[in-house]
Symmetry: C2
Subunit: 245 residues, 2 copies
């Protein structure tokens, strides 16, 4: 079974400048994982149109889905729409459906500025889940989400169903020996169980183990077989095993 | 005065797979900022040599300093050295100084595997601060740091002095009006104070303001002037001001 891949592009001087901690990538890592989507890259770029455009173009070519976060408001530093338009060589046009939504929402209080939110790359798709008032614009495989964490989460969850796929199965084997001592065993298991992704994580301050080895795949039987093979090779060095659930 | 720029490349399936939260980029954001270095990009890449190499090469061309995190141990998934060698088209060679350090450290307990840690891209510089036992390898402008957060922090701080520059000055103006209402004022201040970087951050759940506007520069007087200009334009919408300190 083929695994869908994703990339996240965080647009925001505020993260690079240390004004706010990222919450959106962290949220999306868990959500994508839960849905069996393999996250392949996270890029944090500054509020510069050319850099956003380049990062989006690269990510779009590399992965099945791209999620952008931030820079979609009405102010001078809200550059994402222009950047995505540039990335796909499209003009920005006012989207009549979004324009009407904004006019209906603000009524008399409308500021012309607010209509900037209706200016989207030409041909943008509106993903319009029934559970939210506002659509998520998408251009090709790029889903454009707001940077404010509460809105980012709400909008992603509203459209999340379309990204669901078969889940991953993950197991862990904890070793009392350090990485240098178990590296040959790991190499052998990696070579013999190519469909299983093996990670090795030394822990300096754990009391009962030195290395946590993770084994994962969308094929549960393959994970189980790799765990058995690793345990056989490590013998008494195995402190404990967490099977894929 | 010219500002030095930096990029961070985090190597690690463990972050993309959601096994661990990033601590190293978050730490470095603050440390670089404190030292007046402008962080321009963060990239999180999987444990794939070609992708690491590409990210490092791009970052090295783009910024004055690049810091990599992770994948420098003795196991099959420790690929950073090979990737950085590839990025700069150099072979991997065993570094005699590091080899001796490893042999002295392990003595009789040496496993041949441990010597892999002495295999570095040809021509790598060893940054050898007096405060730590182990050097930080650097290739051109790329500083190679370990992924384990305690070691990452210790090693960066040991070599941090070489990255110190003039600090940034940051001020904040809090607005009671929302972004749409103050956007014209922001545009004007941005246009008139080009040396000052202006950010606009709406806050949904704050009780006493709607938008936090940040203004920053290495020139304190320029920040003060931009704050004054913005306050004059916003008038009664200003809830409070935090001057650059």
């Amino acid at each position: 079974m083929s695994t869908r891949t994703a990339a996240i592009v965080l647009i925001g001087d505020e993260i690079l400048l240390g004004k706010v901690d990222d919450e959106n990538a962290r949220f999306l890592i868990g959500e994508l994982r839960r849905r069996g989507v393999a996250l392949r890259r996270i890029t944090v770029v500054p509020d510069v149109v050319a850099e956003i455009a380049e990062a989006v173009r690269e990510a779009s070519a590399r992965c099945d889905y791209v999620f952008t976060s931030g820079s979609v408001g009405p102010t001078h530093d809200d550059l994402t729409m222009q950047a995505i338009a540039d990335a796909f060589a499209r003009p920005i046009v006012r989207h009549p459906v979004v324009e009407k939504m904004i006019r209906d929402h603000y009524g008399e209080g409308l500021d012309e500025r607010n209509l900037r939110m209706a200016d989207l790359p030409e041909g943008a798709e509106l993903v319009l889940p029934s559970s939210t008032m506002w659509p998520v614009p998408a251009v090709q495989n790029v889903y454009i989400l707001p940077g404010i964490p509460a809105l980012f989460r709400r909008k992603f969850l509203a459209i999340a169903e379309r990204f669901s796929a078969a889940p991953f199965f993950v197991a862990a084997v904890y070793s009392a020996e350090d990485e240098g001592k178990i590296a040959d065993a790991l190499d052998a298991v990696v070579a013999e169980h190519a469909s299983v992704q093996v990670g090795s994580y030394p822990k300096l301050d754990a009391t009962d183990y030195r290395v946590k080895v993770t084994l994962e795949s969308k094929d549960r039987a393959a994970v189980d077989a790799a765990v058995d093979a690793l345990c056989a090779r490590l013998g008494a060095a195995v402190v404990r095993v967490e099977r894929a659930s």
